[in-house]
Amino acid sequence: MLLPWEYGVRNLARRPVRTALTLVALATVVMLVFVVVGFIRGLERSLAISGDDDVVLVYSVNSEENIENSSIAARTPALLTASLDGTWKRFGVAHVSPEMYLGTRVRTKDGVGGLGLVRGVTRSAPLVRRGVRLVEGDWPQAGEAMVGRLSAAKLGAEPSVMVIGEVIEFEGKKWRISGEFAAGGAAYESEIWCNLDDFQTATKRQDLSLVALLLRPGASAAEVSLFCKERTDLELRAIQETAYYGTLQKHYRPVLLLAWLVVILVSGAGVFTGLNMMYGAVAGRIREIATLQAIGYRRRAILLSLIQEGVLLAAAASLLAGTIALSLLNGMAVRFTMGAFTLHIDSVAILVGCGVGLVLGVLGAMPPALKALRESVAISLKAV
């Protein structure tokens, strides 16, 4: 015979302070799990959605996988357009975007200076970077720049100083913010875009970092790769944009593994917290447990009731932490070496967080309950 469901529920309400403290402790643990899993999912999502299968990046073979270090001749876009059939052309306009991409110190009006990612582009950039949307303001004119949705987070600056009309400073020049763009969470969102010619003038450079090409439907990136192999004098390499971000994902794998390790450690710490709380809770109820045994309840039924209490508390803590995570943490910008991304509390994060919470409830309740049940009824009834 099982104990009534209400018995376990009422037991939680009998010790409100202890229950509240346990709830807060468990919710904190689950919240930490949400933060770390949200971080992992945010980083994975940012890299996964960055890049377009139809876009090929052409940059210097000497820069390995760091486009920031790449330097290619300014004539490269014209050369590629003239030599390749696979580039998409519409209304006589080739979808080729020459770009200069740098990590440089950017200063805002409040004096905050952070390492920002600046991309000098031409008006052909939106033809190739199809995920980029100008959400507010205008395309930058001379002396102007448009900022990504997460650029303030990347700089560690207040969002209020990265709005339209404000002035930022980089490469020894002041730039008025003319617009804000979004890219659906892709890596560009942490960048600042300005006019390529202006940027070349400011940096006193005439070269480019890369050329991004949009392939026409049915064309293959292999054609661009072959061109780069044939023109060894240009020292170029070509890579599909998705493959480029795939390699970045490979570089960040140790970080992601470390983050999962943190999830395991936090969960482990949570189990011990739960154990500690439940040992305390059960220790004060030895006589009650013995009484239940004396009036005929089987040990299994009592164990189930104690686990029910633990799981109820852990489920409530998971719900509380989940609500806070979804309302406050989801979408929060995180600064990272490659730029910035947002914490992403998605279905996987919810599953892992709530799963850890429920496991805490079961594992936390079971050992102290088993310990209490192992004592003989006669001795337990006399316990103080």
Partner: protein, 175 residues
């Protein structure tokens, strides 16, 4: 019982060793050879009079039929993904020996200054002259550092680059 435990332990150790191998480092084909390929582009016997790449870069004219010999390499990724094409380096240019422990000896990292003048691109073409789609490693059964003899038409440009539109490829056995 003792024997069973020993076998189980040995199997476990083997699994651990396999699990610890570094999958990020491209495997040298010498340790992972490709199987023999059956392709119409493969020559059964080695064409005579093959010219090393370095010499060809000096003497070969545009549109000239050539037979070149070279070692597949010249960069970390000498093969073109999606096309039967790759770069070859003159066999006289040395690359890292196996005992140096270089994970990618085919990039000629220690002799890059010599590679520039001893490099050619090979693209396998069909009857119409179009590059053949696919992976050269699968089509020809080659790998990085394989020595190949290719026959085809040379393409030169003003910058001195040499590309061979190869119709036949011979892979020297054991290399």
């Amino acid at each position: 019982m003792k024997t069973t435990t020993s076998v189980a332990l040995a199997a476990l150790s083997l699994m651990v060793l396999v699990g610890c191998s570094d999958s990020d480092v491209p495997q040298n084909s010498e340790s992972a050879p490709n199987g023999p390929a059956d392709s119409k582009y493969l020559a059964e016997s080695e064409p005579a009079g093959a010219m090393p790449v370095g010499e060809a870069r000096k003497s070969v004219e545009d549109e000239q039929m050539v037979t070149l010999v070279g070692t597949i390499g010249g960069s970390t990724e000498p093969f073109v993904d999606g096309l039967a094409a790759f770069t070859i380096v003159d066999p006289k240019v040395p690359y890292c020996s196996p005992d140096e422990g270089c994970p990618t000896p085919w990039d000629y990292c220690c002799t890059q200054d010599q590679v520039k003048d001893n490099l050619a691109t090979v693209k396998v073409v069909d009857e119409s002259g179009s590059p053949v789609s696919g992976d050269a490693r699968q089509i020809l059964g080659v790998k990085e550092l394989s020595t190949v003899v290719v026959e085809g038409k040379a393409k030169r440009d003003d910058q001195g680059n040499l590309t061979v539109a190869a119709t036949r490829v011979f892979v020297r056995p054991g290399e």
